[in-house]
């Protein structure tokens, strides 16, 4: 028996969400009184692989096949499923990243395993059951899913589990597997990734703005505030529809769902479809000139005021806070 965690890398590096996934998988392994094995595909430095021991991995399977340098979900699913079989894994954990979403269901279907997408907590294993809590109805509720299959696949929502360090280092082993050519039909032509910015799904802090900002030319102060805080920027749907901001920043029911530690909403009314994507943020701050804006009902902190006056003052305050730190 074992728990297997797939450790996705971005250009050879692990992101914070991966350490969360490893910590989570370790806790599951402890619950089941078994070992934690990690599997990495692609070129990650061996020191980074050994370092996974600090989060609880005892062994790391390292797959360095040239054909697997870039992510092709079909082929990666074959490799992870094979490793799961070889390690007699009863639970496979992934991060619910964009790639994880393309991978977990394929692994599940291969192993005839139930898939819990977007888990937000550890499983409850009372009475021999295996029940996972996940968000449902676009963050308006949680569903508790009982997984009945022999193998279970869990993809963990980023920023929902605390990284826990332990004492230990991992043994790295090469892992090879035969993958059929038909797994490589999808061919990646180009990868465009802005590496200088915090990506929205991973961000701990998010500064977001809506139609209240009047036009794209006014986003300078939003970006400045975000940069100062090391936050990602987001926006409401009409803003990206009007091409004031890229679609990748659109959060909500039809955009992406995020759960950062801090979400600052500036000039956003708080429509139910917008809230669907952000309501699981830990702290919500609303800046809106209309005291009746629905967003205030779900906010922790707020200012009723004009963004064009308030935001520059917030920027100044963050600057002086940093200067005094």
């Amino acid at each position: 028996m074992s728990v297997l965690v797939y450790v996705e890398n971005a250009e050879g590096k692990f992101k914070k969400s991966i350490f969360e996934a490893v910590s989570y998988a370790k806790a599951v392994a402890n619950q089941l009184e078994t070992n934690l094995v990690a599997i990495s595909i692609g070129n990650v430095a061996s020191s980074d692989l050994e370092n996974l021991g600090k989060f609880g991995a005892e062994k790391v399977l390292n797959v360095t096949n040239d054909k697997l340098k870039t992510f092709v979900n079909q082929a990666y699913a074959s490799v992870v499923a094979e490793a799961a079989k070889k390690e007699s894994s009863t639970v496979v954990v992934l991060s619910n990243s964009f790639s994880g979403k393309g991978l977990a269901p394929r692994i599940g279907a291969k192993l005839e395993a139930a898939v819990a997408d977007g888990a937000v907590d550890l499983p409850s294993t009372d009475g021999g059951k295996f029940i996972i809590k996940k968000t449902a109805f676009s963050n308006k509720a949680f569903a508790f899913v009982e997984m009945n299959s022999a193998i279970k696949v869990i993809s963990l929502t980023p920023n929902s589990y605390k990284i826990e360090e332990v004492v230990g280092s991992a043994n790295v082993e090469e892992f090879t597997s035969d993958i059929k050519d038909s797994d490589f039909k999808a061919i990646i032509k180009e990868i465009v990734r802005a590496t200088d910015k915090v990506s929205l799904p991973d961000a701990e802090l998010v500064v977001s703005a809506g139609r209240g900002l009047k036009g794209p030319e006014n986003w300078g102060m939003i970006e400045e505030l975000a940069d100062l805080l090391g936050a990602a920027t987001a926006c409401s749907k009409p803003v990206s529809d009007a091409d004031w901001r890229p679609h990748s920043e659109h959060v909500g029911q039809t955009g992406i769902a995020i759960s950062p530690n801090l979400y600052i909403a500036i000039g956003i009314s708080g429509a139910i479809q917008h809230l669907a994507g952000v309501s699981s943020s830990k702290v919500i701050v609303v800046i809106n000139k209309d005291p009746e804006a629905p967003f205030f009902k779900v906010a922790d902190y707020g200012i009723v005021g004009d963004a064009f006056e308030v935001v520059p003052k917030m920027i100044a305050a963050v600057k002086s806070l940093k200067a005094n730190a």
Binding site: A116, A136, S138, S248, G255, K313
Partner: protein, 246 residues
């Protein structure tokens, strides 16, 4: 001639207040308006664009009981050629994917589209499961879909960017915003939808892998702490020393 299958789900309208009954074990459908999942509408719109000028057909498929037929008719009104309903309650994503795979396996579709996720269970699972069950490629969240002969170029969303991928037919893709604009059915579409073919197919046997045993609604936040507009410094101070978010 391109043959496209679009998977559609019937979900509570985006403004629905979500409540549960039977000691929080069942979604309370009383008074709830069900609609075509918004992402599936994007998939359908793109499928219709790709087959305009008569160079293909668009079949929509739904796993659902008879109550979903108004949503299926809406898809026909938007412009699908014909429809299939697998007569069963959609138990979980694996069940749905198995039903669709069983139907699609002998039908030689060039392209199978789903929405990126259904807005009720938000699984984003059906596309990739279907790909696996049919042993064809799948891309789960695409923002762009162009077809050239027997292959397509898609843009997949990744953290902080995108990937451009080319894939030969057949494959499965889950569509997100950007792939197409929502289409509104016109009068002619609505009229013709009534007479377009809607086949009802009985489900195949599928092993149950998961059950939802309970729901919970998030604990409401306390009342908002308002800071005076003249004093945003105070807000930053609170976020720093009280909420401790930076």
């Amino acid at each position: 001639m391109m043959k496209i299958l679009v998977c559609i789900s019937n979900v509570p309208d985006t403004t629905t207040k979500i409540t549960f009954t039977n000691e929080n074990t069942q979604f309370n459908t009383a008074g709830v308006q069900f609609v075509l999942n918004p992402y599936d509408e994007i998939a359908l719109s793109r499928a219709i664009e790709l087959t305009e000028n008569g160079n293909g057909t668009v079949t929509v498929i739904n796993v659902g009981e008879i109550s979903t037929e108004p949503t299926i008719r809406k898809a026909l009104a938007i412009g699908a050629t014909d429809a299939v309903r697998i007569n069963a309650a959609p138990h979980d994503a694996y069940y749905v994917a198995q039903q669709i795979a069983a139907y699609a396996k002998d039908q030689s579709f060039d392209l199978i589209l789903t929405g990126r996720e259904s807005i009720d269970y938000n699984g984003a699972k059906v596309a990739a499961m279907l790909g696996e069950l049919l042993d064809i490629p799948s891309v789960s969240i695409i923002k762009k879909l162009d077809v050239d002969g027997n292959a397509a170029t898609v843009e997949r969303e990744i953290e902080g960017g995108k990937e451009v991928i080319t894939i030969p037919f057949p494959f499965v893709a889950g569509t997100a915003e950007g792939v197409a604009e929502w289409k509104i059915p016109n009068m002619r579409g609505i009229m013709s939808a009534r007479t377009k073919p809607l086949a009802v197919v009985e489900p195949v046997e599928v092993k149950t892998l998961s059950d939802v045993v309970k729901f919970e609604t998030p604990t409401p936040r306390g009342t908002v702490k308002l800071v005076d507009a003249a004093d945003p410094e105070k807000l930053i101070e609170l976020l720093h020393s009280e909420a401790k978010v930076f």
